[in-house]
Symmetry: C2
Subunit: 112 residues, 2 copies
């Protein structure tokens, strides 16, 4: 380190504000989990599913299901409708585009 900077600067790239990407990163982080994508696949197929239906489909205990659903609900990916003691989850229309891209089409181009 010669005199102060501590790194090369082939080009001077302006300092970038990472906070700008906070929302999108939290959304992608909420989707980027094998079990949660599987849940999205089921919800996308059936349009609306009861949490109790996901339990046998995913083969995991109820609190695990709830936790994952809430993670996606919290960032707005899922909508929730409560009917009696049941909770029905569906994909927020705002996110249908990206969710479908992830579940279909776009996914294939990434493989191999």
């Amino acid at each position: 380190m010669s005199d102060g900077i501590g790194y090369c600067e082939i080009r001077k790239i302006e300092k970038i504000d990472t906070e700008e990407y906070d929302t999108i990163s939290r959304v992608l982080n909420a989707i980027g989990n094998r079990n949660r994508i599987a849940m999205l696949a089921v919800i996308s197929k059936y349009m609306e599913v009861c949490a109790c239906e996901l339990q046998p489909a995913l083969g995991m205990p109820q609190p695990t299901i709830t936790t994952h659903l809430h993670k996606m609900y919290d960032v707005g990916i899922l909508k929730r409708k409560e009917v009696g003691k049941f909770s029905y989850y569906s994909i927020n229309p705002k996110f249908e585009g990206i969710v479908n891209d992830i579940l279909r089409g776009r996914t294939e181009t990434m493989e191999a």
Copy 2:
């Protein structure tokens, strides 16, 4: 719990194989980080950037930059070209579609 099952089954949803979503989930997980998306934004803008250029742009120490770049390189999002002591990273064409969707357009529909 009456006699064995332990959960309701409003509809019988077939058991889903979560492993099918392993690749896509690892990709999204690698993108779903505020700092890494910021890096993708810079790389996308300049087409190809040297790791040393990202240091001042992101304002973080060199090992942190390398770690993040490697995480994305490992899942195939980034390509690397080594020239002398420099390493240039670019977005793997296979992932340009989804990366652009994330950085532009699609992102906006998610806000608010």
